[in-house]
């Protein structure tokens, strides 16, 4: 493999990142959802510090990609919006982490 091939390979791996997850707000939302089964809007808002508008718009994009499910219910006569990662979302998150870890391992090996 020539240096240019290697560089191209590294570049393509970098470009392999799931751009949907790579965005910081969505990454932090997915990280928080990954470690639980499901959580509601208030919980995610407290954990991430994101505003209602931010959470809603990012979750809508993740839902469109079938990474999360959104369920609107009532609890004690109050509306509750619950989010959960789908199997696709969990798998995508694991893959994303593997790409990041591989890239970080490469960069630390280079030093």
């Amino acid at each position: 493999m020539t240096p240019s091939d290697s560089e191209a390979d590294g570049e393509s791996r970098e470009l392999d990142f799931d751009r949907l997850i790579h965005e910081p707000a969505r990454l932090v939302l997915m990280s928080n959802l990954y470690v639980v089964d499901e959580a509601d809007f208030v919980f995610l808002s407290r954990r991430t510090g994101l505003t209602a508008g931010n959470i809603s718009s990012h979750m809508a994009r993740l839902e469109a990609a079938e990474y999360v499910t959104i369920e609107k219910t009532f609890a004690d006569k109050r509306p509750r919006t619950t989010y959960a990662l789908t199997k696709t979302g969990r798998a995508a998150f694991v893959t994303y982490r593997e790409h990041v870890n591989a890239l970080l391992a490469d960069s630390s090996a280079d030093q």
């Binding site: 990280s31 928080n32 990954y34 470690v35 639980v36 089964d37 499901e38 959580a39 509601d40 809007f41 208030v42 919980f43 995610l44 808002s45 407290r46 954990r47 209602a52 959470i55 809603s56 609890a75 004690d76 109050r78 509306p79 509750r80 919006t81 619950t82 982490r97 870890n101």
Partner: protein, 201 residues
Amino acid sequence: MTRNQDLQNLERRTYRDSYSNGIIDIYIGISLLWIGAAWIWLPDIAGVAGALPAILIAPMLIGRKRFTEKRIGYVKWTEPRRQWEHRNLVGALVLGTAFLLLGVGVYMFASDPAANGDTLGNLAPGLIAWLLGYVAIGLAFLMSARRMLAYGVVLIAGGIWTAQLNASPGWPLLAAGTVVTVTGIAMLIRFIRNNPVVGQP
């Protein structure tokens, strides 16, 4: 840091933060105050005083869930975490009750001068506090809750003090109950200040 350790840390931190509201501390503190007070002032019912906290644990857990969900939101933990939580709750209840009953039994046995020498009789008033103190220290390591360590130290120190003064075993429970309740109230006030009720979109 291993590959999944950062996510495990995130889960652990999230779980710990979700329970830093002082409600369990207030429940434990009031239980200790009640059992200690019953031992000192209501000796006729001291034997069954421990039943009331046991009965109140279910309403306390339901009330805590409803109170905290309005402020920090709803979360369903993963199956392993739910199993761990269930095991700990049952373990703490069984261990606490067993140690309390053991302490009462040993206290009654040790208090009988006909059956024992002076040494055991002199230690008898502190036994219950010591045993509960060891439970608290055990829970401190099991639940990674450092304040439980402080509660255990207060109970053990109270037990030593009670044995030296030959006072009622209720006093160290009252002392520890006061410390635990005050700590719980302080945590609850901070929790309410930091987490006002918010609506959902």
